[in-house]
């Protein structure tokens, strides 16, 4: 067993670079489409495949926000051979629908928007405000769409893949990219070539209008029916002053209503030309036959006329701090966001290492606000590097009756430490040990390796996957101090304070409920003791609490709960005082909680996972602990539709993972 005993540090030096380097074959077709091919033997049953279009909401403009994401939906509607039993009729219907819709739009622009501006109607798009002419056009459009279904073969695109045993067919859109992914049986690579090259050449955007309603529902689900959704959208728009990152990927509702088929076709021609696309294949395959098939199928795509236009806007330097204060029906929370750097920027590496020093159960944030001051349930710092710009942010959810402002002060103390003192050798070494191990962990799944390679290539170069570990391992304490001083400044910050609205559980009722957990005799004791504690002068409170903590060790077991409860109440009083006074947080006995595992358990009870499934999911999720919001959203998006396709037990695991990811993302989004 001697190979298990070798120390980590030795291994770090010798093995990492030798084994964890990823060396894919790069293939560029004459039409400009680039392929990243990585043969691996570990998962012999399937191949992970995908292609990325280098287009996302950052390429949009006001009026067509959300177009990239909408497009992603349209790309599953089929082609002139897939999805219809009569291509000619199908095209006629599509054209009739287009004409009707454009007639409707003319009326909406001219009449409905005018009435809306005058305050005569509340919504220019709502059918209840239709003029008679608009109403009859709407009915005609609906009737046409209904007849159209006769020549549509429903969701044939998906059925072909499903029948062939594909398990991961899906797509997702971010600010920077649109990514179409799949996991196919090892012998069916040609099917993928056929289907994907077909939809890149012969796509038909049928069911344009009903699909737009689907996106409206998606928006209602993701943004409008969650307690923080719309506020996060507003915060994001406040944060980005000029950058197109300011609008949501899913788009503003009015824009979503106004897309036209002509606009969609233009968009396709510009952004889905082969020179703007990257294919990625990871799995158990032979290079030569795969390259041949790629050439035969994707080589047919026609080269574009001109490359897509650049994204020229550079976010101007923020000149003053910004603040947003929200009242909402959810746990009070905070996000403090700063402008950061784009993908592969040299400062992104010290920022990442700084994040690792701050995050995790043994990181600084947890020790300071979760186990130390006990004012947060969780806290994290994330680094989000996008294609053209980036952001870093601190976010946390408050514990008990603590105020987001307390977390704000606690964060500024952490910033102070980062800006003035060097992080310790021990902290750096611990972080770097994990960087090494995580480099291996991220290679465990073909599917996620495929996504990482494609995403990285689309926003700055796949080589980042190899380069980053060396650059991360080279980060010094001075580097971290430097970036802390450069980015974590007041004028570069935007703060969002989320307060649970007043009509939520009143404190008194909460006290009564807490009390109800005790026997009558204990309740008497508690009330008696509390009235005594109340009499203690403010200046003696801390001392009393300290004494009680010592006593707590010797309390008989049956009174332990009572004692803890009293201590908690005392602490609450201390907290509220220090809060009112705006003074420093009192020092407390360090304690740690398992926020993540608690959540695991909660979610898990609802989803009925078996032990093994839970283990799988837990291990899978562990690899996302310190990922950025962008990365998590990619993963979530990838999994969301996969969940509707995978079979049996995997589905439960996926749903569970999704539920957990949603929590993680919600936490992160408070920062972003």
């Amino acid at each position: 067993m001697k190979n298990y005993i070798a120390t980590l540090v030795v291994v770090m030096g010798s093995c990492v670079t030798a084994i964890a380097d990823v060396n894919p074959e790069i293939l560029v077709l004459d039409n400009g489409m680039k392929f990243i091919l990585l043969p691996r033997s570990e998962e012999p049953n399937s191949i992970a495949v995908g292609w990325v279009a280098k287009v996302g909401s950052v390429n949009e403009r006001p009026g067509i926000t959300g177009m990239s994401h909408f497009f992603e939906h349209l790309m599953f509607k089929g082609t002139n051979t897939i999805g219809t039993n009569n291509a000619e009729k199908d095209a006629e219907f599509t054209n009739t629908e287009r004409v009707l819709r454009n007639q409707m739009l003319d009326i909406i622009w001219d009449e409905q928007y005018a009435l809306f501006k005058l305050g005569e109607i509340d919504d220019p798009w709502d059918a209840k405000n239709d003029t008679p002419e608009l109403s009859s056009l709407r009915k005609e459009l609906q009737a046409t769409m209904k007849s159209h279904r006769d020549v549509i073969v429903k969701d044939e695109f998906s059925s072909v893949y499903q029948g062939a045993g594909a398990t991961g067919m899906n797509a997702f859109t971010s600010e920077d990219v649109t990514f179409y992914i799949n996991q196919i049986p090892a012998n069916k690579f040609e099917l993928w070539c056929w289907m994907e090259s077909d939809r890149l050449q012969n796509s038909v955007f049928r069911e344009f209008f009903s699909e737009r309603d689907v996106v409206h529902e998606e928006r209602r689900m993701r943004t409008e029916s969650t307690p923080t959704g719309v506020f996060q959208e507003q915060f994001n728009s406040m944060f980005w002053q000029a950058s197109p990152y300011s609008w949501p990927v899913i788009g503003w509702p009015s824009d979503l209503n106004s897309y036209t088929l002509e606009e969609a076709n233009r968009y396709f021609d510009v952004y889905y030309q082969p020179g703007n696309l990257i294919g990625v294949v990871v799995g158990d395959f032979q290079l030569q036959p795969i390259k041949k098939l790629i050439g035969e199928y994707f080589g047919q795509l026609e080269e574009g006329d001109a490359p897509p236009p650049p994204v020229p806007t550079i976010e101007p330097q923020q000149r003053a701090p910004q603040l947003m204060v929200v009242e909402l029906d959810a746990q009070s929370q905070i996000e403090i966001r700063y402008h950061g750097v784009p993908f592969r920027h040299r400062d992104s590496y010290p920022l990442e290492v700084m994040a690792s020093v701050l995050n995790g159960k043994t990181g600084r944030l947890y020790k300071a606000v979760v186990e130390g001051a006990e004012i947060a349930n969780n806290a994290r710092f994330t680094v989000d590097t996008k294609k053209y710009a980036g952001a870093v942010s601190f976010s946390a959810t408050v514990k008990g009756d603590a105020k987001p402002e307390q977390l704000e002060s606690a964060w500024y103390e952490q910033v102070d430490l980062l800006q003035n003192d060097s992080v310790s050798e021990y902290e750096l070494e611990k972080v770097k040990n994990n960087i090494v191990a995580d480099q291996f962990r991220q290679l465990q799944s073909n599917f996620f390796l495929m996504i990482q390679l494609g995403y990285g290539e689309a926003i700055g170069g796949w080589e980042a996957i190899n380069e980053s570990k060396d650059l991360l391992l080279a980060v010094t304490a001075d580097d971290i101090k430097r970036v802390a001083n450069k980015y974590l400044t007041k004028n570069n910050s935007s703060v969002a304070l989320y307060n649970r609205s007043k009509n939520a559980t009143p404190i008194d009722a909460q006290f009564e409920e807490e009390l109800a957990a005790f026997s009558e005799e204990q309740q008497m004791m508690i009330k008696q003791a509390l009235s005594e504690l109340k009499a203690i002068p403010e200046e003696e409170l801390l001392q009393t609490a300290a004494q009680m903590k010592v006593q707590a060790q010797q309390v008989p077991a049956e009174f332990k709960a009572v004692f803890d409860f009293l201590l908690k109440k005392l602490q609450e009083r201390i907290d509220s005082l220090s809060n009112d006074l705006g003074s420093e947080e009192p020092a407390k006995t360090p304690v740690v909680e398992e926020v993540v595992e608690q959540n695991f358990v909660e979610t898990n009870q609802k989803l009925e996972l078996t032990a093994q499934q839970l283990a799988e999911a837990t291990e899978f999720l562990a690899s996302f602990q310190d990922k950025s919001l962008g990365e998590l959203i990619q993963v979530e998006a990838a999994l969301t539709m996969a969940a509707t396709r995978v079979q049996g037990s995997d589905q439960v695991v996926l749903e569970y993972i999704l539920a957990r990811l949603t929590v993680l993302i919600a936490e992160l989004e408070n920062e972003n």
Binding site: Y4, K154, V215, E217, A517, V592, A615, S649
Partner: protein
């Protein structure tokens, strides 16, 4: 030679349809549990597989026994014990030191529980696996349940409870479990009064009951030599004294009253579940029921419910159904979707139309063929990686799965006929025995869509029973908030 090349080039032009592609042969034989199964240290089952590509070792220790072992008054005890095994230190090390050691070793470890088992995982570099394993084992065998961490875990549980009603989707999930499984271990949730009494003693008792080698199944894969690893595990586990074997979880039967239930929430979209209790895993109709459900709503975009509700009408972003045969108790068939308030009823109507259709009209050959081939062709993906494969076998061992199950899986699916699908649809899809649960703005939902295509009255006529408002329960006690009582319209 040249003509041959030319001939091949001519033949190898792209097929005009994806259905015409001739694929290379790919023979998949499901792996068998016995080829991965070993026994170490008297009687502990280990599923083991070498996987040498990356210098990592991944291990899962699964213990029989879960929340069904404690009464409702202790709901939450088992999961808290599990999380405190990980976070509460050991008898000889403080919790803080254990955390630091794992972090410094870059080893990931977690302990959690579901209703039926407690699962501990360890993922570490192979180079320091022994150190990580020793820490992991010490934590499992001699948890410290450090007081400060117990207190914090309890606080944290209460903090989580406070957020129970923040998301409409979590209300939907909770109320659905309660409707399906009532106060059994599957339907209940922890409350302040079940968490507050937890102390070191109760934690130690439940720990001793579950976390002992009599309940243990190990799975391990990664960068090691198999015989060496087995010898290593044998030696390490040898001194761990055995205890009682946990009984299987009790079979829970689902005892709801059919009808329409709703929870009032001020959101623009209603979240919906439509459910009915269903058959158990050993039932002869399970394969047919899977195929039926695939066609009806389980087959993603190809399924009828998704097509009608999502792509035809644009009423929902996700809409579909699931069929889950019960392992120890009743199974469930259920449909779910979310839709704007005015079209909640319309979407339900479309689903009941589809239920009616699959019960009265034989499915097409194409639908049947697609469902069968999708189910059969995705079987290999269950066994993608070594870790996937082992996890299937551990799960099978815990649930006493038929050892021939995977070997005969494809034959059972292939044998399903159109008549089977119709018959099983009639057997399990009885609207009058279903319930519908809606979380959303009831006043807007009840009236239905502006065109009068469906209102909730229409849906009630299908299901029967009555409209019942379920109050938003107090998040800490899960009891009625004061001055509010259950009202029936």
């Amino acid at each position: 030679m040249f003509t041959t090349t030319l001939l091949i080039a001519l033949i190898v032009t792209a097929p005009s349809s994806p259905y015409d592609i001739v694929f290379p042969e790919f023979v998949f034989t499901p792996p068998t549990a016995s080829s991965f199964r070993e026994t170490v240290s008297e009687n502990t089952t280990v599923f083991i597989a070498e996987d040498r590509e990356l210098p990592l070792i991944s291990m899962v220790a699964t213990f029989r026994g879960g929340s069904y072992l404690v009464p409702n008054s202790q709901a939450g005890l088992v999961s808290m014990m599990a999380s405190l095994v990980r976070s509460g230190g050991t008898e000889t090390m403080s919790a803080e030191d254990v955390d630091e050691q794992f972090a410094f070793l870059a080893a990931n470890s977690s302990v959690g529980s579901d209703g039926a088992t407690v699962v501990a995982t360890l993922n570490s570099l192979s180079s320091n696996f022994e150190e990580s394993f020793d820490l992991f084992l010490d934590m499992l065998q001699h948890p410290g349940f450090q007081e400060s961490r117990v207190a914090l875990a309890k606080d944290s549980a209460v903090e989580d409870m406070k957020q129970r009603n923040d998301e409409p989707s979590s209300i939907l999930g909770r109320e659905n479990s309660r409707l399906l499984f009532g106060n059994s271990y599957l339907g209940r949730n922890s409350t302040v009064s079940s968490i507050e009494p937890i102390d070191t003693k109760s934690l130690q008792e439940i720990h001793a009951k579950i976390i002992n080698p009599s309940n243990l199944i190990i799975s391990i894969s990664g960068d090691f030599e198999k015989d060496e690893m087995l010898a290593f595990l044998s030696e390490k586990l040898n001194n761990w004294s055995r205890g009682d074997v946990s009984l299987d979880p009790p079979g829970v039967s689902s005892e709801y009253t059919p009808g329409i239930y709703y929870v009032e929430q001020d959101v623009p979209q209603g979240g919906v579940r439509i459910c009915i209790r269903s058959m158990r895993r050993g039932d002869k109709d399970v394969a047919a029921a899977h195929i039926m459900n695939y066609i009806l709503g389980g087959g993603g975009f190809s399924s009828r419910i998704t097509q009608k509700v999502r792509s035809d009408e644009g009423l929902a972003y996700s809409a579909g159904s699931m069929f889950s045969p019960g392992i120890f108790g009743d199974g469930i068939w259920g449909a779910g979707y979310e839709s704007k308030s005015s079209t909640v009823a319309l979407a339900a109507k479309l689903i009941f139309d589809e239920i009616d259709r699959i019960k009265t009209i034989l499915v097409s050959d194409e639908d049947l063929a697609l469902a069968k081939s999708a189910t059969i062709e995705t079987l290999p993906s269950e066994f993608n990686s070594k870790a996937d494969t082992l996890s299937v076998f551990v799960s099978d061992a815990l649930t006493n799965q038929d050892p021939q199950y995977w070997e005969t899986y494809r034959d059972k699916i292939s044998a399903v006929t159109k008549e089977d699908v119709l018959r099983v649809a009639n057997r399990i899809l009885k609207p009058e025995e279903m319930y519908m649960l809606v979380v959303g703005n009831w006043d807007e939902i009840e009236v239905g869509d502006a065109d009068g295509r469906a209102s909730m009255e229409d849906i009630l006529a299908i299901i029967g029973g009555s409209f019942t408002e379920l109050p938003v329960l107090d998040p800490l006690t899960l009891e009625l908030p004061s001055e509010q009582s259950l009202k029936t319209n």
